[in-house]
Each structure stands twice: as structure tokens, then as C-alpha cells.
Amino acid sequence: MNFEFSEEQNLLREQAHGFLGEHCPMTKVRAVLDGDQPTDRELWAKIAEMGWTATVIPEEFGGLGLSYLELAVIAEELGRAVAPTPFSSSVYLATEALLLAGSTAQKERWLPNLANGTTIGAFAMAEGPGRTTAANLTAAAHNGALHGTKVAVADGDVADIAVVVTKADSGDGASLQLVELGGDGVSINPQRTLDFSRSHARLEFTGAAAEPLGPSGQGWALVNKLFDRAAVLFAWEQIGGAEAALEMAKEYALGRYAFGRPIASYQAIKHKLAHAYVNNTLARSNGYYGAWALSKDAAELPLAAATARVSATQAYYYASKENIQTHGGMGYTWEFDCQFHYRRAKLLSVNIGSETQWRNKLVQALEQSNAA
């Protein structure tokens, strides 16, 4: 047993930290937030050049063939930097979906370009507010023609391809389709988002060319598998963000004086930050286990992933909101960077399903492990 990242993985973390410090300072995040571009394409190209988009893709498909532990390390740093890129959509979802369900031909066609970043992928599931289920899906593909509307598609307006969850008449009621968003019959409409540095879009499909990804009627099972995998990586982004938010609150509290002493010396502030530290530590430790379960494709993955996801979601939400509170009025200004974490924490917390949904999955996994 060994509960630590390896020396190489720690080196990778340092390297990623240094790289993002240079190429993704908060001013870059702010530029996307303030500007009219949906994402930072220059940063994306540099990230791809670093090989991060290729991390877990096997070498035969143009990737680096590294493990999910390396990808977790990168995710943490991207989260810490609040990077304004479609990394989570393209890497944790679209790439993973292809790895999970793609035919050899599909992998050969798409993975090399996802690996080098020239293709950006998105994942399209929701059709309206509320929880998506196999039963309430309406978008459907017949004879390779997709009809229907998907909403809140993260990075849908910058992606080249999308993995779309569609209704199936057989099996578990769902299928996955691979769609090129530049083709005919696709209309892309950006939706205003909570986190302007991560755009979302409404995708309308009117007979768009769609290729089945994985067997028809097994889409729902694939979505669950995909989400279990993505949850660990999302959790690591959330952990990185939560730590950055705590760090920000701490620095401010040390420098700000009230009633003749640093606000960091008041117990109400100290205990708030201590609790953020506790949440972050628990989330990180659950993240370790999740990352390990993912890297080994262990039988415990559903429980480990849900646990990591729920505790990271809670930790980031708490740290991001209490960071604002610690800053007082300054925290509520556009000018201060507190908003980035508050926005990103919420965005990440709903991207692959809410905390309520993941808590439910967690207990399902507990019931199964208790029964077994």
C-alpha cells in the first residue's frame, strides 16, 4: 500500500503549476470574463502543446498513454487556476466517451485530434431544467439523422464534435451519438452562463448526421460509467479551486485590519478558514482514493467517485462563498477575483449532475456494497 502521488507525479504538478502561473494568471481569466470571446484559444493551444489533452489517450491513438493519476494532477492545477478552457468537456467527457464506447475506426478518426487539441469535444445531455433521465429524453436519431434540442451544453459553442445522449426504443432507453457540430442540420446558440469564462450553448439538431457511439439501447449505462470516471476528474478541479479560494481568503485576512488587529486573528474568521481547511483536506483524501480507483478501474469506482465528487463539491462551494465573506465589501466587487471561484464552483457542481444526484448515487453504491 502506498497513499502518495509518485515523485514524477509531484514534479508534473509543479510543472503544471508553473506553466499556469505564467500562461493563465487571473488576468487571463478576467480577460475572458470581460471580453466577448467564449474561451481562451491561445491558452488552449498551449495546453495542448504541453500534451495535457493527450494524457490518458493510448499511444496508438496519438496520446501519451499515462494514467489517470497524472490527469488528476493536471485537473487540480487547472481548477486552481480557474482556467477558461473547455478542458473538462473535451478531456473528461468527450475523450472519455470515445475511449469507453468508440469503435476502433472512431478512435482512429477522433482521438489523435482530441489528443493534440485541434478537435474540441463537448457532451450534450440536458434538454431543460431538472434532472435528465432515460425516460424524459426526446432527442433521437433515426437512420443517422439526429433531431432534437440540447441545452446547457458546456463549451457547446467552441466544440467541434459533441457526444449526444439520445432516446432509444430498446435496452435502457438511451443511446450515444457522435455529431460533428460544423455539419448541416446543427444550429449553435450560445447561452449566457453563470461563469462567463466557461460558455454554454443550446444545440438544435434538424437532421444532423449522427454516428452511434457504442451499442444502441446501452446509452444510459454508458452515461453512468462515463460520469463515474469524469466525477473523479471534476472533483480534482474542484479541490484545486477550493484550495485556491482558501488561500485567497487567508492572504486577505492576514493583511486586512479591523479594530486594531488583523481580521485573521478573530476567531470567527479563524474557525471559518479552519473549517474550509478541514473540508478541503477531506475532499483531497477522498480524491486520492477516487483517483486510484479510476486508475485501476477498481470495482469500488462508483462509491469512490461519488464520495470524491460530493465532498469536493461541498468543499469548493464553502470555500468560494466564505472567501467572499472574508473579503467583506471588496469581495463583492467585480474588480476582485473572488467572483471567479464562486462562479466556477457552482458551474462545476452542476455540470455532471448536482450534489443531490451524486449523494443519491453514493448511497446506492453503499447499499450495493453492503448487500454484497
Partner: protein, 404 residues
């Protein structure tokens, strides 16, 4: 990172498992013994076969095992519920590491093996009426008399003092210097003349902690740990290990019992576990438990690299204690009207949750209150400043005190 055993670890686990299978005391063996007798029987048996305090060096009664082997042993031992033994936790978990760090070799060889074998039980004489959270405000005096020290004063809340053979104690040796500088640290024989132990009845109805009075108790200078005036520093060794020992968390029996309960009782004619509000709570608690477990593993990795347990261990108790209180309270809610009944023959899990509910307020206080733990994290982990205080830099005998 690999949460699975290596082949060598798997072999060790199998060995531990096999030994446990053949040696865990049967009900008949324990029959007629009081809890201390039961604990001593089991501890001695482990010791005789090299399974006691396995991470300690062999010359001190251990097995010279690695930290990971200790984890494996703990995991395997925890699979046998209701083993006796909690009476040794203060001696083995706090006194022993302090002795290892500060005692002279001759004393280590004399006292550690008997701690490991369970033949001698130790207690921790730190808290006083005037010094709990603010431990360094303690007033028990020790004055030098040749090769001896003469002790006068009172300790309080001393768990197990009434059945202990030895105790570790911090006392004031100089009241004219600032309070942290005037302390010294000793160990003493609890049977020494002038030591008087009076049980205190706890809120739960049990009486496991005591007042201990000292009247002209003589301690050889030889039993001092650290220099005169270095008592605070030595105490920190004990306290860090206390947090690591207490922080480790239980084997998880309570949460499993809660899951079982939620699957058994019903809410509106459906198993309670199907209720979304119940599920939400179970999920939150599982996250904390699991987070604590793996935080513990990670700090063990640090230990195995030779680092001492750091203040980050304070999170264990800070998370576990209030959570356990909430779990116990919620379990009784699930029982509805029956929650009020505490009857081993009637209550689910023989009244486990009722017992927990009554024990846990003490757990939130013992070994550093929730508030002190949060302060420790804020100050020593995050580096936030202390609150202004009125006792810094002035002689102890000039520090303002309250009425009590």
C-alpha cells in the same frame, strides 16, 4: 499510489489474520473477568506472540514492524468487534511516544515492554481545575528537595487514574517566570504515598475519570523528562500523539449500524433508507468518514517517512466527534418513539446509539475541545495569528485569574 497490498503486505495480512483467528479470546475465556482483567488477558496474549504495539522497536516490546504493517494489523484486528483494550490507549498512545522521545534508555527498557504487555497501565495527569484548554495555566507545584521533587496540588478529569500504575504529569516548578516557561514534566508511580484518587461521576452515569490530589508526594529527579522548565515542550509531544491517537477514528461500526438501521426501520411504510432526506445525511457522513480514513492513511505515509504527527491530525477529532453526535441523535430519530428507550435487550444494536449519544459530549471536550482544535488548525496549520492575550510575557503569579 496503490491502495492494494503488495505481495509482502498480503503475506503479512494473512499471517495477522490467521493469528487473530486462532487467538481472539472466546466468551468463556473472558467470563468472570472485569473489563480490565479482560483487556489485560488479550494484551498479554498479543504481547507473548509479538503482536502488541507492533511498530515499536523489539527491545521495547514491539515487533519492529513498519507503519503500513501497523495499518494492516489495525484493519484486521478491527474486524473482530468488541475486543477489550481501550484502557491501554493513553499509556501506549501518549505516554509511550513521550517516553521514547524524552526518557533515558534505562527507563525505556524498564517501562515500555510492560506498557506493551499491558501489565502496567498509565494515565495522563495534565488537566487541572484552573488549566484545561489553557493547560499551561496549571498550578500543581513541585519543589526541589535534593534528588527529589515534592508535589502538592490537584489534577482533574484524569481518565483511568483509579486503575493506573503510573502517570505522566506536568507541574509548575517556577511560578515567577511566564507560564509556559515554568513547567516541568515527570512520570510517577500512582501508588506513591500522598496520591489520592477520587472518582467523578460522568454525565453518562459512569465514573471513568477522577480527581487526583497530591500531598507532599515525592518523585525522584531521575523521573523528570526533559530539562527543568522544558515541561511545555515535552507536553507537546504527548498532545500531538494524543491527537493522532484520538483522531484516528473508530472502526466504523457505528456507521454500518446506522445503515442497517435505515434499512430496517420504515418511513411511511417504505424502508427509511429510500427517503431522500435520510440518503442525504448518509451520503454526507460517508464522505466525512471516508475522508478521515484516507487522511489517516496519508498521514501514516508521512509517519513512515519518519515525520512526527503534525497539527493536521487535529482534524480527526474535530470532524469525528460532532459527526458521531449527529449520527447518534439521528439514529434515535429513525427509531421514533422507541428512540427514547435505552435497553440493551430492546434497543437496536443493544443500545449502541443511546450509549454513543451519552458518551460523545465528553469526546468533544477530552483531548482538546472542538474550539481548541479549530484554533490549532487556524494557527499552526494555516498560520493565522493568535488572538491578543493577557498572559504573555508576564510572570505566572501575576496573570489575572477568574473566580473559579
Amino acid at each position: 499510489m496503490d491502495f492494494n497490498d503488495t505481495p509482502a503486505e498480503a503475506t503479512f495480512r494473512e499471517e495477522a489474520r490467521a493469528w487473530l483467528r486462532g487467538n481472539v479470546p472466546t466468551a468463556t475465556e473472558l467470563e468472570g473477568l472485569d473489563p480490565i482483567g479482560q483487556a489485560k488477558l488479550w494484551q498479554k496474549r498479543k504481547y507473548d506472540s509479538g503482536w502488541a504495539c507492533i511498530r515499536w522497536p523489539k527491545e521495547y516490546g514491539g515487533r519492529g514492524a513498519t507503519t503500513i504493517e501497523q495499518v494492516i494489523w489495525n484493519q484486521e484486528e478491527a474486524k473482530h468487534p468488541n475486543l477489550p483494550g481501550a484502557v491501554f490507549s493513553i499509556g501506549q498512545g501518549m505516554a509511550a511516544p513521550t517516553l521514547m522521545a524524552w526518557a533515558k534508555e534505562e527507563h525505556r527498557r524498564r517501562y515500555l515492554p510492560k506498557l506493551a504487555s499491558g501489565e502496567e497501565i498509565w494515565c495522563q495527569l495534565f488537566s487541572e481545575p484552573a488549566g484545561g484548554s489553557d493547560l499551561a495555566a496549571l498550578r500543581t507545584r513541585a519543589e526541589r528537595d535534593g534528588d527529589e521533587w515534592v508535589l502538592n496540588g490537584q489534577k482533574i478529569w484524569t481518565s483511568g487514574a483509579h486503575y493506573s500504575d503510573y502517570g505522566i504529569i506536568v507541574v509548575r516548578t517556577d511560578p515567577t517566570v511566564p507560564k509556559h516557561k515554568g513547567l516541568s514534566y515527570f512520570f510517577l508511580n500512582m501508588k506513591s504515598p500522598g496520591v489520592e484518587t477520587k472518582p467523578i461521576k460522568q454525565l453518562s452515569g459512569d465514573a471513568n475519570f477522577n480527581e487526583v490530589y497530591f500531598t507532599d508526594v515525592r518523585i525522584p529527579d531521575d523521573q523528570r523528562l526533559g530539562e527543568v522548565g522544558q515541561g511545555w515542550q515535552v507536553s507537546l509531544t504527548t498532545l500531538m500523539n494524543e491527537r493522532a491517537a484520538i483522531g484516528g477514528g473508530s472502526a466504523g461500526g457505528d456507521f454500518k449500524a446506522l445503515l442497517r438501521l435505515a434499512q430496517t426501520v420504515t418511513i411511511d411504510d417504505r424502508p427509511a433508507i429510500e427517503n431522500p432526506a435520510v440518503r442525504a445525511k448518509l451520503a454526507n457522513w460517508h464522505c466525512k468518514r471516508s475522508g478521515l480514513k484516507y487522511t489517516g492513511y496519508r498521514s501514516l505515509s508521512a509517519l513512515s517517512r519518519g515525520e512526527t504527527p503534525g497539527p493536521e491530525n487535529s482534524i480527526g477529532k474535530l470532524v469525528a466527534a460532532p459527526m458521531t453526535q449527529d449520527i447518534a441523535s439521528f439514529a434515535m430519530d429513525l427509531m421514533e418513539m422507541s428512540g427514547a428507550v435505552w435497553d440493551e435487550g430492546y434497543s437496536p444494536d443493544a443500545g449502541l446509539f443511546q450509549a454513543m449519544f451519552m458518551a460523545i459530549p465528553g469526546f468533544r471536550i477530552a483531548g482538546g475541545t472542538d474550539e481548541i482544535m479549530a484554533n490549532i488548525i487556524a494557527e499552526r496549520v494555516l498560520g493565522l495569528p493568535q488572538e491578543p492575550r493577557l498572559d504573555k510575557g508576564i510572570p505566572f503569579n501575576e496573570v489575572p485569574t477568574g473566580a473559579g
